[in-house]
């Protein structure tokens, strides 16, 4: 299709997240699904605000499975998550690479180098290699828009899921997006086409599927070499830099005279073009956040590059750090003065819970959410935090191993949204393998996914855009699962009584579930508004 060389119809100031959402809308994505997680959350919120069909799933695994179903049906699907969310969704990811898709499947992994709001800074570029899915890495909002469309293009052309790997600084930075307003060809009308050998991964079908995947990746590698979205900036013959994503921006500013090689598709990499570039410069430095992914790939192909010293593997990069890398300056880096740490809001209902747990000297297996702040003074009442849902399993493990007098002090604390995400199977484990001293699980139900910015979840009974839907009721599910002692209470009404309840549960030696229910203060007004709006008209 010949494209007119026209000026863009729209010039907008968008965050990377908003740009992904706009591209999804422009491309007629049938469904966006995901689980909230900084810095990815705003993608689906923006997609819904623009009029797209967006849904919060209970967790990332379910989101990806739903998206795979859409793409099997021939539709275009977007699945969004933060980097650790892709761990949860890794199981379907690896096999979806074998099955491939009929429509388009774009998986957004929003990585968080420097851990602005995460428990680790894992580098999900490794997932693209491990699963064998093509990967794009945008460097700003314009590319977030362009590469979302590119991802759909590649996904449909080769029938593969595509990973769009973005980082905090791209997600949450606003920059100018000029969208050409080209109409993408409309997505095909979903219709079921039986293809058992492609989609049923029993070993007999999976073996050829793996070979098929490797053939597709080899083709995509050739495409990326020939016409992939690679930017080469000619510069000084003495110094050339290989950088992708936001690192490219820091490099252009820190080293304005250097030549720069920026792959837009970072798996499979345009290795031969990289080789040519590296051969043209005296010194070829790789600037990347996180793991030495590009540097390892280059060196494995026999390309002579210089990776950054280990010190730069930690945290985000910025212009100053790139200057230090180029100067091979490994002296201790100046640390900015510490700001004020976040804390539980004044009058936050979680405060009553952590006060009680501290008073009772509990050993607390904690989880991910606002209530993680219970680890900070004045409470210091969380002893472990690993990943979403881990509170219950970790608490049970400690109960099994500790001497009884300590085991009896162990409590698992988990939020409402986190419980839906991955706490349910922990409860199943508790019923199936109960510790001899029993166990106490506290669900802190504040009626919202607070930490990521007040998103709905199945326990609120409202959809992403706040309309009534089926409600997952914790106490009913727990009782149906066979937990006989389920207590539902508002921890703020009578703090002494709440503390006494926890004490009684600790002493009982039984399996106890306490649901501490009180709406988040920041969300309470909005929750009332949504409920009122959802009341049936008289």
């Amino acid at each position: 299709m010949e494209m007119p060389n026209q000026c863009p119809e729209r010039r907008l100031l968008l965050s990377g997240d908003e740009a992904v959402a706009l591209a999804a809308l422009d491309a007629g994505m049938q469904l966006g699904t995901g689980y909230p997680g900084t810095p990815s959350t705003e993608i689906l919120e923006a997609f819904a605000a623009l009029g797209g069909l967006a849904q919060w799933a209970p967790n990332e695994k379910v989101a990806l499975e739903v998206a795979i179903g859409v793409a099997f049906a021939g539709g275009r699907a977007l699945a969004t998550m933060k980097h650790v969310g892709l761990n949860v969704a890794a199981d379907p990811l690896f096999t979806a690479a074998y099955t491939g898709v009929t429509g388009a499947l774009v998986i957004v992994s929003a990585d968080d180098p420097g851990m602005a709001s995460s428990q680790n800074e894992q580098d999900n570029r490794r997932y693209a290699v491990a699963a064998g899915v093509p990967m794009f890495e945008p460097a700003d909002s314009q590319e977030a828009y362009d590469f979302t469309l590119r991802s759909i293009e590649v996904s449909e052309r080769w029938g593969l899921p595509v990973l769009l790997r973005i980082t905090t600084r791209v997600c949450h930075s606003k920059s100018v997006v000029a969208t050409p307003g080209y109409p993408a060809p409309p997505p095909r009308v979903p219709a079921f086409e039986r293809d058992i050998a492609a989609r049923v991964m029993i070993p007999a079908y999976a073996r050829p599927a793996h070979r098929r995947l490797r053939r597709k990746l080899a083709e995509i590698a050739r495409w990326n070499e020939a016409e992939g979205p690679t930017v080469v900036v000619e510069g000084d013959a003495a110094l050339g830099v290989i950088a992708a994503g936001v690192c490219y921006q820091h490099v252009r500013e820190a080293l304005p005279d250097a030549g720069v090689f920026k792959p837009g598709m970072t798996y499979p990499l345009p290795v031969e073009r990289m080789r040519e570039f590296a051969a043209r410069v005296g010194r070829c430095l790789v600037v990347e956040e996180g793991d030495p992914y590009l540097a390892d790939a280059a060196r494995a192909s026999g390309i002579r590059v210089e990776a950054a010293p280990e010190a730069f593997r930690f945290g985000e990069l910025n212009v100053a750090r790139v200057r230090r890398m180029a100067a091979r300056d490994e002296s201790p880096e100046p640390q900015p003065p510490a700001g004020k740490p976040p804390e539980l809001c004044p009058s936050c209902p979680h405060r009553a819970v952590f006060t009680a747990l501290r008073n009772l000297d509990c050993i607390v297996a904690g989880d991910i959410g606002c209530y993680s702040l219970g680890v900070l003074p004045p409470f210091e009442a969380i002893d472990t935090l690993v990943c979403m849902g881990a509170a219950i399993g970790v608490g049970l493990g400690m109960r099994h191993a500790l001497p009884p007098e300590q085991a009896r002090r162990v409590v698992s604390v988990i939020g409402d949204s986190t419980f839906v995400h991955s706490g349910i199977t922990g409860l199943v484990e508790m019923i199936y393998n109960p510790p001899p001293t029993g166990h106490v699980v506290l669900i802190l139900d504040n009626g919202t996914t607070a930490m990521t910015g007040m998103q709905e979840h199945p326990g609120t009974g409202r959809t992403l855009d706040h309309h009534h839907t089926g409600k997952f009721v914790f106490e009913e599910v727990a009782r149906a699962m066979g937990i006989r002692r389920v207590h539902v209470t508002d921890p703020t009404l009578e703090p002494a009584g709440f503390e006494a309840l926890i004490k009684a549960c600790l002493d009982s030696g039984e399996l106890e579930l306490i649901i501490a229910r009180r709406d988040c203060l920041l969300a309470a007004g909005a929750i009332r508004r949504y409920e009122k709006a959802n009341e049936p008209a008289r």
């Binding site: 299709m1 709001s117 600084r169 949450h172 930075s173 920059s175 000619e234």
Partner: protein
């Protein structure tokens, strides 16, 4: 750009048009001095683009800092919005997630002919706008030598209808240090605030703009 039969739709064959200077109104708003080359060597994902080294051009660096809940991000949105409306290249960066929990929040705004990194480096902020007096020292190292500090003390003796509009009032002070016309600021406020909050904030902006000496002390950042 190489041509090929497949895929049948392309996402970016209009690269030179990304040059922000092309979108300036014909009546000559700020001459940002951007060349088409600057747009071509942008990170704009275009197949096989090769170009010369970038032209160094003036970029204005602003950092807005404060505590969660004070409207740091709204203030930086308004400033970025004004620069955007002026037809400049703009980048605005922040880290949120914990920002509603009362912790330190800072947001960087950079604009000019061409901006690369979205982050302002230590010692390179032309203007530091701080909403909470306790956050001044924490952020002072960001200021460039001779940079302008804008802080709540500058509104002494002025009454705001709501303390929540402090962010916008200080943006009003800041507006005196930039060459954008007042109408453009009004437009930026209008596009970033809910209609029911607009009047209150326009008033706060005017109070801040009035409190600052027109063309007051401190250098005007060039852009």
């Amino acid at each position: 750009m190489s041509q090929h039969a497949e895929p049948t739709w392309r996402t970016h064959s209009c690269v030179p048009c990304r040059d922000s200077s092309r979108h300036l109104p014909a009546d000559g708003k700020p001459d940002v001095g951007t060349s088409a080359d600057a747009a071509r060597d942008s990170a704009c994902a275009t197949s096989g683009i090769t170009s010369g080294a970038p032209r160094q051009s003036g970029v204005t660096n602003i950092v807005v800092a404060g505590l969660g809940g004070q409207g740091v991000l709204k203030a930086s949105d308004i400033i970025a919005g004004a620069a955007f409306l002026a037809g400049l290249d703009v980048k605005k960066s922040e880290v949120h997630g914990m920002s509603q929990r009362g912790g330190s929040v800072a947001s960087d705004v950079r604009f000019g002919a061409r901006v690369f990194s979205p982050m302002v480096s230590q010692g390179e902020a032309d203007i530091l706008l701080v909403l909470d007096p306790g956050q001044i020292e924490v952020n002072r190292a960001l200021l460039a030598p001779g940079g302008v500090l804008i802080e709540p003390g500058m509104l002494e003796g002025r009454r705001l209808r709501s303390s929540k509009a402090l962010n916008v009032a200080l943006v009003g002070v800041l507006s005196r240090h930039l060459d954008f016309p007042e109408a453009l600021w009004t437009q930026a406020l209008r596009s970033n605030l809910a209609p029911k909050l607009l009047e209150l904030n326009l008033e706060a902006f005017a109070i801040g703009r009035d409190a600052a000496e027109p063309g007051g002390a401190g250098p005007r950042p060039a852009y």
